[in-house]
């Protein structure tokens, strides 16, 4: 069965069963491997993408449930890798191993889209579903604050 998707502003037609999790369509069919498989049960956030501007765990989102909502992955967050969050992430050298970071950045993008100037408490609440085993949480919070100051208003669409 063919399913129509709009991923990073590009129309895609994928031939998979509607119950297939979006993550595996992104990674295995569309070869967008920035979104990561980790827990597979929506508890770690490594697979986070934006669906209609909201942070969603793609590992447990059936691809057939999306309708025509636009999907944004880390690869499509900005055309040039210069989204304020990506710039801040690099400036503060946030990642260590990096495996969770695409999910972290996508959750942060959703946060800033709805709350352009979050408090630390709002950041902690919004990011609490994204785990980082390296423990980069303090730099993540700093980077979100920095991005909020430097022009977070850029919509992540």
């Amino acid at each position: 069965m063919s399913i129509q998707l709009k991923v990073n502003n590009v129309a895609a037609s994928v031939d998979v069963s509607p119950e297939t999790p979006l993550l595996w369509v992104l990674r295995d069919v569309l070869h967008l491997t920035g979104s990561k498989y980790s827990c597979g049960i929506g508890m770690c956030g490594a697979c986070t993408v934006l669906i209609g501007g909201h942070a969603v765990r793609s590992c447990m989102t059936p691809v057939g449930s999306l309708g025509n909502q636009p999907i944004t992955t880390i690869e499509g967050l900005s055309p040039d890798g210069l989204h304020p969050l990506q710039v801040a992430w690099e400036a503060l050298d946030v990642p260590q191993c990096g495996y969770c970071q695409a999910g972290q950045i996508m959750s942060a993008a959703a946060l800033l889209e709805h709350t352009p100037h979050p408090t630390d408490a709002e950041i902690d609440t919004a990011m609490s579903g994204n785990l980082c085993r390296c423990g980069t949480y303090t730099r993540i919070r700093q980077a979100i604050q920095q991005a909020a100051q430097t022009g977070a208003a850029t919509p992540a669409k």
């Binding site: 990561k36 827990c39 992430w89």
Partner: protein, 327 residues
Amino acid sequence: MKINRRSFLQMSALAGGGFALSLHCPRLAAAQAPTTPSDLTPQAFIHIASNGVVTIMARASESGQGMRNMLPMLIAEELDVEWKDVRVQQAELNEKVYGRQFSGGSANTPQGWEPMRRVGAAGRQMLITAAAQTWAVPEAECTTQPGRVIHAASGRSAGYGELAARAAALPAPALSSVKLKDPKDYRIIGHSQPGVDTHAIVTGKPLFGIDVELPGMLYASIEKAPVFAGKVKSANLEQIRKLPSVRHVLIIDGGITPAALTPWPTPGGRHSRPANNSRLTGISARQPRKAPKDSRLKRLNCSKPRPHPPCANTAMWTQRSRHRRRS
């Protein structure tokens, strides 16, 4: 495409004229030479293009502690180049050529500290020799500044890129013979450098083992028996074999392991299946009659912390731990 060291060398050569220090690698590999730190050679680790861009091999894998920065930084320091001119490339797995390539136990810095610096210093020495031969001056009169060999007496200097081809034709000096910098002169070591992979990470580039695709690759994972330390009595193997992408399914100690063309719905994505999908859960198992001697059961029952799980199983282990805590 798969890049092994030989094809990397060929590509480098095709890319145009400049490559140098890695010329001797294939012969080295064929000779099955080095196994001890003193046998490492700069040719294996350093590649200098004619435009002066330096590629340094990171011999150990990255798992978040900065190995892909640290090990090349040690070489770059003694080679005497600007860190911004350095590109880091992962070395293929060949401990005869690269020495210890395992990452773990906080051992890479102490074990790489001197050998990697000596590799860099030997590379610098070869470039000095090449310059001295070119100018017909004594090596002792030549010094380096980052990326250049200088002969102050005659006012001559040459970039490493210009000297690389000649340097590559020289025999490597014994690592024990090269002189190391005084630590007070360090320009790279001891100075924080940005992560070499940070840009790739924040833009979602393929970087991790799970991102690798090879022709004909299958995805395998383990479906454990539903009771702890259980042995498989039976499993719905025939049913699993009929799934569209599945190529093999095997009974292993304590579970089954399907291998499939796609990561879902079997390996890798096995946890992602809808809760009511029992396609992969048809394992019936029997409890072991007594605790296995290998003490895994004892560890669970005592209050000591469990040992760190092997990396490959981390995701599964984490999930299983959560289930246990909940129940």
